[in-house]
Amino acid sequence: MHEHTVAQLAQGLRDKTFTSVELTRAYLQRIAELDSTYNAFITVDEERALASAEAADRRLSTGDVTALTGIPLAHKDIFCTQGIRTSCGSKMLDNFIPPYDATVITRFNQAGAVILGKTNLDEFAMGSSNENSYYGPVKNPWDTSLVPGGSSGGSAAAVAAMLAPAATGTDTGGSIRQPAAFCGITGLKPTYGRVSRLGMIAYASSLDQGGPLAHTAQDCAILLNTMAGHDPLDSTSAEAAVEDYTTSLDNRLEGLRIGLPREYFGEGLDSATGEQIRGALKELEAQGATLVDISLPHSDLTIPAYYIIAPAEASTNLSRFDGVRYGYRCDAPQNLHDLYTRTREEGFGDEVKRRILVGTYALSAGYYDAYYKKAQQARRLIKNDFMGAFEQVDVIAGPTTPGPAFGLGAKSDDPVAMYLEDVYTLAVNLAGLPGMSIPAGLVDGKPVGLQLIGRHFGEAQLLNIAHRFQQATDWHTRSPQTGGAA
């Protein structure tokens, strides 16, 4: 059962081949058997999952169903779930049981999906390796000596190891696409504002966006159909109409113009990874697409602009964790100042503290113009590069990451080296564009991802291209050896 896609499982549920309770039990059993190896989940609530599955089975018997009724899903532990601990990978929220659901969770609940559990992540989504979690690192199912990527590393590992058929993630600078690439699965970061941020614990509010991780583009389309849409409770939620993302998956690619940014194929790209990406692009060419050489001339500003803007927003967002209203509070505070400073010293991990300090510095009097304002100007130049490119081409493609997954511990002592891992994914968030990563080959047995970047609200086209690619290739069907019961 666990080797099926969401689309196949939904068919099985409708055909009564199996029930949601049977399906949910099968995944819960795999988690119980295998997750001690991967550490993909922080919290699993079996009782609640089975109760939801029973409710889904009753709904399935009435015929009032959606494409996700009875489908078990895993959610990144950054989405608030009423009554289920939501830690954000931090000691600060280790005891936090949200009094409300994130809009994304509400939408999945209304669709009748089942929550298997909450997945591991870099603390407050800050990281590219999932090594910054209070709950320990996640291991890559393809090779447990490797990182799964981050920050949605638990979601990516859970899907790759088939502990869940699909999962949610969030992407502030690559946190869906990079772990999807490292774990050999498909991940979509929608346009900024496409998916509600209400109840999605904020890291950098002008960059954060939730999206799906799954085995196929078709499954991502099914999940996005439920996740996307205007939310009056999120003031940055887009009012643009939502398409049915499953209806255009089979559109033909003749005449499609795909831009290949020179800057994404230059120095810094691992040569074997580059070869796999070029091979994948040939497949799209064979289907009638034209490959066009383009330039994104301000690409070198991406990392510095991101690592000012994201920490600046984080320093503001994370000021809410003060030990007063919820979450961690230090023992025996001497006074209010001691309560704040010691709660935050003890509750936050090193990387979170570093980003808060960098952000505080960038926003402080005397440095604001030199750092924050300058970064926001660079951000516009980066966005303008994309807007210019989209006058010549329909989509942009390149590698998701400079190479395949690296070893646990290889970069964890060097924040700057870790930041450079996000070189191809950050610009998409700065420009607010949709981006996808799809499995595009193996390098020494390790998966690499092809990144597709679309125009604002161009999710349907990305999913269409990814689906056509997956109809013609089998990289997305490759899976690591995980063992466990069938």
Binding site: H298, V324, R325, L339, I356, L357, V358, P415
Partner: protein, 95 residues
């Protein structure tokens, strides 16, 4: 650009994060490395470029001035570290 240890102490105070004495050296070094990396920005020509705060250049939407929320005080205070009589407790501020 290099950042001095006392400047890190000042920022940490602004951010209300205590840094233990034996860690301040390492934190200073890491922040210096990060600021060194972002300093590439200073070379960029951004004259006349309008800063961009929102990727869609959206502005804050207004809603009708109507009460839409009900009072959730009990639910919210049930997860607080310390409350009494409906109030959040903190150490004494005024002697």
């Amino acid at each position: 650009m290099a950042i001095e240890q006392d400047e890190i102490e000042k920022i940490a105070e602004l951010a209300r994060i205590r840094i233990a004495d034996d860690q301040i050296g390492e934190v200073t070094q890491r922040i210096t490395e990060i600021l060194g990396m972002v300093d590439q920005l200073q070379a960029a020509d951004t004259a006349g470029v309008e800063p961009m705060a929102n990727p869609l250049d959206a502005t804050q939407r207004l809603r009708a001035d109507e009460v839409t929320e009900i009072n959730h005080r009990e639910a919210f205070q049930a997860i607080a570290p310390a409350v009494e009589n409906g109030l959040y407790l903190v150490p004494k501020v005024i002697e």
